[in-house]
């Protein structure tokens, strides 16, 4: 198992505790979650091709290990008392790991009335505070600030909760990443900043995004610990994230964790990826995080081939069912667009749509 670990500038090495080894059950659960993410996205892609999804569709193929492994280090609850997370388009695995469900994911892409934003928002922009899932806006970087503030609230109230924020190589060029992470560092917020180094931001390779050799180098300027880990090794991701989470929970503040992985599909469905050398794709296909993990599960005799087959089949069935269910649900009523702009101010209907149109009335 390759692990690229360059801990730098760790101002409180004492906090780097020994993380308990994951149990066999946990390992199988990670495997299931990776399959679930992949199967659900595949189902989504099909729905897209069938014309059911109106907005963009993004895949995390090849990044499931990074997403699941890191999120697995968090405390997932469904009563609003657990750890919190904010994610991006390629964090399907993290969402599911932290308690999100394929049905909610698919409803959201499908703009169903039943979705968590009632059809208002695109893609994964949904929030479920009970589960500690905080949906992003599109503008990259903003959520780093928001997560800094959420975890700052935990610190202020002495709660032992932790927050994790995901962002890509591209996103780490934004000023809001800088301002958010700096806030978290100075305020010693219990936050883990996961940077997903997946080679590209849309078509832009990472070397045109930053001159730093590793995204983990960015930790130095904030005076926080930075670590870089093989993002296609789900267990390594889990372990590194668990260290950062433990440090945060113990009151030692924010850290940065780089997961080195690869985006094996285009930015979105329409992207033919012709800017990518085919060898690169082949190389990374041979390092598929699910394949690598299953090989290890088998070789270490933590699972049998049958068990793995069941896990994969189970994930496919769950994705299937969720898709069927979501598809059968209605789109929202147009006029619901008018509600919940303010908590206490009601918007009028457009005057041209009144029974007796009159601009005086609005």
């Amino acid at each position: 198992m390759i692990r690229v670990t360059t801990t730098m500038c760790s101002s409180d090495a004492s906090a780097t505790q020994v993380t308990p080894e994951p149990s066999r059950a946990q390992l199988l659960e990670m495997c299931r979650l990776m399959h679930l993410a992949r199967a659900t996205e595949e189902r989504l892609e099909l729905l897209f091709r069938q014309g059911h999804v109106h907005g963009g569709v993004y895949r995390s193929l090849g990044q499931e290990g990074a997403a699941v492994g890191t999120a697995f280090a968090l405390r997932a609850r469904s009563d609003g008392t657990g750890d919190v997370m904010t994610y991006l388009i390629r964090d399907t695995g993290a969402i599911f790991t932290h308690g999100g469900e394929p049905i909610d994911y698919l409803r959201h892409y499908l703009a169903r009335a039943t979705s968590l934003s009632r059809g208002r928002e695109t893609g994964v922009h949904f929030t479920d505070f009970d589960r500690g899932l905080v949906g992003p806006i599109s503008h990259l970087g903003t959520m780093v600030e928001v997560m800094a503030g959420m975890t700052w609230a935990f610190r202020l109230r002495g709660e032992d909760r932790v927050g994790m924020a995901y962002l890509g190589d591209g996103g780490s060029s934004t000023g809001e990443f800088h301002e958010g992470l700096n806030f978290a560092a100075v305020q010693e917020c219990p936050m883990v900043m996961v940077l997903e180094a997946n080679g590209y931001a849309f078509s832009t390779p990472t070397r045109k995004q930053t001159r730093a050799k590793r995204l983990a180098d960015k930790a130095v300027g904030y005076g926080i610990p930075g670590e870089s880990v093989d993002g296609n090794d789900v267990v390594a991701c889990y372990e590194a994230a668990a260290r950062a989470v433990a440090r945060a929970r113990a009151g030692h503040g924010a850290s940065l964790l780089e997961v080195v992985t690869y985006r094996r599909r285009g930015h979105a469905q329409h992207d033919a990826q012709d800017y990518v050398p085919p060898e690169e794709l082949e190389h990374w296909a041979s390092r598929d995080p699910i394949d690598l993990f299953e090989q290890r599960l088998l070789s270490e005799e933590w699972a049998t081939p049958d068990e793995l087959e069941d896990v994969a089949a189970g994930a496919r069935t769950e994705a299937e069912r969720a898709a069927d269910e979501a598809l059968a649900e209605p789109l929202p009523e147009g006029a619901t667009a008018l509600d919940r702009i303010y908590t206490d101010v009601t918007l009028p209907r457009p005057w041209t749509r009144l029974a007796r149109p009159d601009p005086h009335d609005v």
Binding site: T127, V134, G135, E145, V146, G149, M150
Partner: protein
Amino acid sequence: MTSEPEHVSGSARGEPVGFLDAIAEGLFEEMEDDERVVLLGEDVGVYGGAFKLTAGFRAHFGAGRVFDTPISEAGFTGAAAGAAHMGLRPVVEMQFMDFISSAYNVVTNYLATSLWRGSGPMPVVIRGPVGAGARSGAFHAQSVEMAFFHTPGLKIVYPSTPRDAKGLIKAAIRDDNPVIFEEHKLLYRDPKLREVLPSEDFVVPIGKARTVREGRDLTMVTYGRMVHLAAEAVERLEEEDGLDVEILDLRTLLPLDVEAVAESVRRTSRLLVVHEDTRTGGIAGEISMRVNERAFEWLDAPIARVTAIDTPIPYAPTLEDYFLPQVDDIVTAARWLAAY
């Protein structure tokens, strides 16, 4: 925890209080009453803010609830939003409101849309000094209302008197929507504004204009420091021209109290909008549109406006005076309208 700072207890002592102290009182009272209210911004803690509005707050409420941030307007505004998600009610100070431009994305796209997106209420107040006239140039004197007026989900409050300032800051803190709260720096220590405020708890509702003065001949709609210039102009108009002018202080710019304006125009049939902000794209436009929609038949003259000129805010006194609307401009405009 030290005792309360001197400048937040004027009303309790029955003394008249000025504009800055009134805001400090409101903020202090809300922080006393509700420990979810926290205060953050550049130099708000140890120093007490560039205008010393929160002097002593940190000593009283502790470093947890009042703290100095790095120079990162987006960063700490976004952090305030996150803290609000987790149940706090942050008050963010912009050292000068001009710097809110650096937080434009997070304010308009994150805070303003939170409820709509399904991410819940967003009880954050962003307050700070605005306004020209103090020879502070293009970047320490802006009016920021029109940068945000077009953003559904935000409220914008801009008081002109100590009473309204105190009542509105308290209402803003209790509001579950993001509120931008503008404080004209020339009003902060204007001795003429000092007034005795109720010693008991009160709020002034967001979204309601105030009739400063009733009148039959003409409606003047304005807000902020211009309320006082308008009042001066109206006195002259009364003395010199025998005109009876009604003045409305909008107090809240978003949501706009259209009905108050329309109701007044239906009585006076003439409308002059006065704002310190620059002309093109100023709030006079929306008011004009709304009055057209609601009170067109009552208008006996075109709606007119007196505003700053369409430029950045210049530094030299000669230029800044030329830039800003003056009492003379208001008088001239009112006379023209009355004679129409």
